[in-house]
């Protein structure tokens, strides 16, 4: 019944967030804090690895919306990977899959930040 933990790892200039549990109005503050910390440290290349995320309510999507402007304005982006079916479905229902880039694997998501520099 552990509700939410969010681990953060830095890999060179990419910051990885690992929310584990669920994000709803009860737990969203924790997720928001982790996201805001990355932004405050000016780490704007963010990958949210959702492999441990069981579900996300609109509060969680609002938290992402609340940070994305600053992240993109600073030349970064927030990208997502390893969404389970429930979570992917919620993104699709809201059309968020058109607002955010979603990758099948963590490696793909990390490498996507290298695209601009390729050969």
């Amino acid at each position: 019944m552990s509700e939410l933990t969010v681990e953060t790892r830095d890999l060179e200039d990419v910051t990885l967030l690992y929310p584990k549990g669920f994000i709803n109005a009860h737990t969203v503050r924790l997720f928001e804090t982790a996201l805001q910390k990355a932004v405050d440290e000016r780490r704007f290349k963010i990958v949210v690895n959702c492999s441990g995320l069981t579900y996300i309510a609109s509060a969680g999507l609002g938290a992402i919306m609340g940070a994305i402007e600053e992240i993109r304005a600073s030349g970064g982006d927030l990208r997502l990977t390893e969404l389970n079916e429930t979570v992917l479905n919620i993104f699709e229902i809201l059309g968020f899959d058109r607002l955010y880039r979603i990758f099948p694997s963590e490696m793909d998501a990390i490498l996507s930040f290298r695209e601009g520099m390729a050969s």
């Binding site: 019944m1 509700e3 669920f22 709803n24 109005a25 009860h26 579900y55 309510a57 609109s58 509060a59 999507l61 609002g62 938290a63 919306m65 609340g66 994305i68 402007e69 079916e85 429930t86 479905n89 919620i90 699709e92 229902i93 809201l94 059309g95 899959d97 607002l99």
Partner: protein
């Protein structure tokens, strides 16, 4: 009586939203919805309960929310009831996703999600209570994608 029905009371505290979601999912599954649809219905009810806590009660944690579930055979109905501030249904804004990002909004997604997931979402006030009524028809399964 042909089907199961259920009444759940929770304190107006977000820590109970997980229980609302779990109970909704089980009721929806036993009403005959597949696991994915039950997940979505549970999310819609979580959103309605969240709105009661955040908007009707404005975060006060000493109130109560009642959630009523009824399997009516052809449809599954959930009422989320609070005794908080009156909601004007016409005031609940609709989301335009195309303008959502540029307007820098972070709210308004809950009602949008509820409407995308359920076949009907209505708000009414009766006997000093707000009643958010969510209905999902059986056999209206996986059509709410995108």
């Amino acid at each position: 009586m042909a089907k199961a029905s259920l009444l759940l009371w929770i304190p107006s505290d977000t820590s109970y939203l997980g229980l609302v979601r779990d109970v909704t999912k089980k009721m929806a599954e036993h009403a005959g919805f597949d696991s994915g649809t039950a997940d979505r219905v549970a999310l819609a009810v979580d959103e309605a309960a969240t709105n009661a806590l955040e908007h009707a009660y404005q975060g006060a944690t000493d109130k109560e929310v009642e959630v009523r579930f009824e399997d009516r055979g052809a449809e599954f109905r959930v009422d989320v009831v609070d005794t908080g501030q009156m909601v004007d249904p016409r005031a609940v804004p609709r989301v335009d996703l195309a303008r959502y990002v540029s307007e820098r909004r972070t709210g308004g997604l809950g009602v949008h999600l509820m409407e995308k997931i359920m076949d009907s979402v209505t708000f009414r006030r009766s006997a000093r209570r707000n009643i958010c009524c969510l209905v999902k028809r059986k056999g209206s399964g996986g059509t709410e994608g995108a």
